[in-house]
Assembly symmetry: C2
Homo-oligomer: 427 residues x 2
């Protein structure tokens, strides 16, 4: 989803909060943003009480109505979780409407545990590039990023103290939050609108495929394409899929498809069941490489589940351990990959390196297992549609010759399809 | 740690990156910050190669030297993790020195998986209120906040795409990052220096004690104190302890000490073994309440470990389940609390409500267990130093009379100690 609403002068910064408990602090932040010369529009997502010390521009009854219900019904919904769910829906609708009307130059939200997640759900419905900042004490500790960030460029600021009171600890943090959103809104206003003529190509990478993908990206640039590289860590792959569906790319080089293995075994880099499907569905030309499908990712060394303890492991860093996929898992991944590629409506080529799919998968490396890799290749060929070419290269995945081959295959696909428009529709 | 270095004109924004892989992108961000009229100082934390397309002000050899070693030794250290560890130490030293010299108005870091954690370690050594922003693709998914945020007001921006290449997806995100740090640095420069005369009081709260703590905070304000409220969720309590040790508070009302129970059983809100120790060690007057020690916190309902399944549970939200502490655990918590308070070098009072320690701990509530609560009280009295008063109030923890009692006890302590200086030293 692109940030393509025209940027008129005086577009307000939208301030979201639960004003029954955070009215005073919200008023303070709004005043700081106004001091920067920007307009402010305050939206109340609070369920329980009335605003304290501030009058919102869009009140909580309107937010409930935007969710197709009433504040009374939300209050009667029984659990805190159910109420938040409904208000998040209403807030998403309110923010999306404001954005479309040119009345949202960016969003800043102040939230506690529930308020932050509610606001996060709503800002995730807004496009990339539109400033979105959440200030909350719960962006810390053992909580995970996903509910706050999703697939978007959300900024999170740990408030350190609770959002309750203006004091010498909280004020500098609120000042910084107001400064950050104001600075981002100014940066957005100063951006030249995109020319829209770039021939963008989506790529996927991990540390284990960085040498190859860097070389391919350089080659794409030299050929007049604009490479956009995603980190295929479970979120990056989903972002790629979403942007493919939005028509962002003229083509895709899905070089690092490890997320399929993680999806299969339940690894950290699982990207959901729809990975590797958007390009197929939308007919976007793609070269697919089984980069890093020979391993999956799990947590710190000492937390590796019992069932994987006996496997070859690579200690990537204190937080992540890579575990070698077994022969049977490799066959399953091949079947999964083939099934998804068989649905391709556009041109597709598969390229497979014969001498290792990741850095430790090389003679002497901990993931060296030529037998499992061969089983993968056999299964892939067996299950793949007969008209989809599989190009095997007698090289390691990071060998220059493999990168050059992938680049040449991609350019070949694009030449087959020279008039392809950049919006993803095959012309 | 306070942000108290004088803010001279022209203090640069420090840009931290690994320039061997992210040189071009870092140069882009630095240029955007300079366009805002701010000075920039670039620090290279990259281990492997030489800077690409940019010349740092402080090079990676200097960062290694700041860690007491050489770049060659770092490169020879064997694992990626070990190298990052050393460079993080060097970077922390470099940033702290720049800050003390008045050459750091804020820090922005661009990092991949390792680079982001390395930069995070370094910015966490800087004081609260100093702008600190990290842009990284790994601030998403199932990763946890702790390594990135620690106890500080760090802003994290999910870069969506890898920090590799300037394109229509990455440029708006980098523009926003530059705008955010510039806006924060301006906000900091505009801040009036703190008068230093505020009589700050630290308080701890959870949703379960909000009614009482709000009332106490209002009362403190009316009495000329400035309340600073922490969310006792495992991080908030640690932040409180750190600020007590820094001499921030004239007194503490540690109303919500649930983190002790989590520490004991291994719950989500564990705050480490030193919770409830700083005020005792530094002689800061405190009123301590066993708020919410009757439960601990674990994950989503379906993930509650087998050993706790049979316990009374409260489904706080989809991500958190509260579990009732058993009689034996309550006795252990009392022993733990008494041991810590017995070390108090300053005045201390314990206040205990007799009719429930949390919202669901009330007749008919899922955590109602008067027998376990009574066992807690007996154990606390048994183990507590004889001269520490325990005030028991025949009310629920959120009853107005309990809040008023705690407030009166605190004011009593402060009158005993009227000349206490705000820097935490007993005069």
């Amino acid at each position: 989803m692109r940030d393509d609403v025209p940027r008129g002068p005086g577009q307000p910064v939208v301030v979201v909060s639960t004003l029954d408990t955070k009215g005073r602090e919200t008023a303070y932040v709004a005043a700081r943003i106004r001091e920067e010369g920007l307009d402010v529009l305050v939206v109340d997502g609070g369920v329980l009480g009335e605003p304290r010390g501030i009058t919102p521009d869009i009140d909580h009854a309107s937010v409930a109505r935007a969710a197709g219900t009433t504040l009374e019904a939300v209050r009667a919904s029984g659990t805190r979780g159910a109420a938040v769910e409904v208000m998040a829906r209403g807030l998403s609708r309110v923010l999306a409407d404001l954005y479309r009307q040119g009345r949202c130059a960016g969003v800043i939200a102040l939230g506690g545990a529930e308020g932050a997640v509610m606001a996060a759900r709503a800002v995730q419905a807004l496009p990339l590039g539109l400033p979105k900042l959440i200030v909350t004490p719960v962006a810390a500790g053992q909580r995970v990023f996903d509910p706050f960030v999703g697939l978007r460029d959300v900024l999170l600021l740990h408030s350190v103290v609770d959002i309750l009171g203006l004091n010498p600890v909280s004020r500098p943090i609120f000042d910084n939050a107001a400064g950050a959103i104001a600075g981002m809104v100014r940066a957005r206003a100063a951006r030249r609108p995109a020319a829209g003529q770039d021939r963008l190509v989506g790529l996927t990478m991990l540390g284990n495929t960085t040498p190859a993908v860097t070389r391919i990206a350089d080659g794409l640039e030299a050929a007049g394409f604009v490479p956009v590289v995603f980190h295929s860590n479970g979120v990056g792959g989903q972002c790629l899929e979403e942007m493919i569906a939005d028509g962002t790319f003229v083509g895709v080089i899905d070089f690092t498809t490890d997320e399929l293995t993680d999806q299969l075994v339940g690894g950290y880099h699982a990207a959901g069941p729809h990975r590797l499907e958007a390009a197929a569905r939308h007919g976007v030309p793609q070269v697919v490489v089984p980069g890093c499908v020979d391993f999956f990712v799990t947590g710190p060394r000492e937390s590796v589940p019992e069932r994987w303890r006996g496997r070859p492991q690579y200690h990537h860093n204190p937080a992540l351990t890579l575990v070698r996929a077994s022969r049977d898992e490799m066959v399953e991944v091949a079947r999964l990959m083939a099934g998804k590629l068989n649905a391709c409506r556009g041109p597709v080529v598969v390229a497979v390196p014969l001498q290792g799919l990741s850095i430790p998968n090389t003679p002497g490396g901990v993931f060296h297992d030529p037998e499992a890799d061969a089983a993968f290749r056999v299964a892939l060929r067996d299950h793949l549609r007969r008209d989809i070419p599989v190009v095997e290269v007698a090289a390691h995945i990071n060998a220059p010759v493999f990168a050059e081959t992938v680049l040449a295959l991609f350019q070949g696909l694009m030449q087959e399809d020279p008039d392809r428009s950049p919006n993803g529709a095959v012309s």
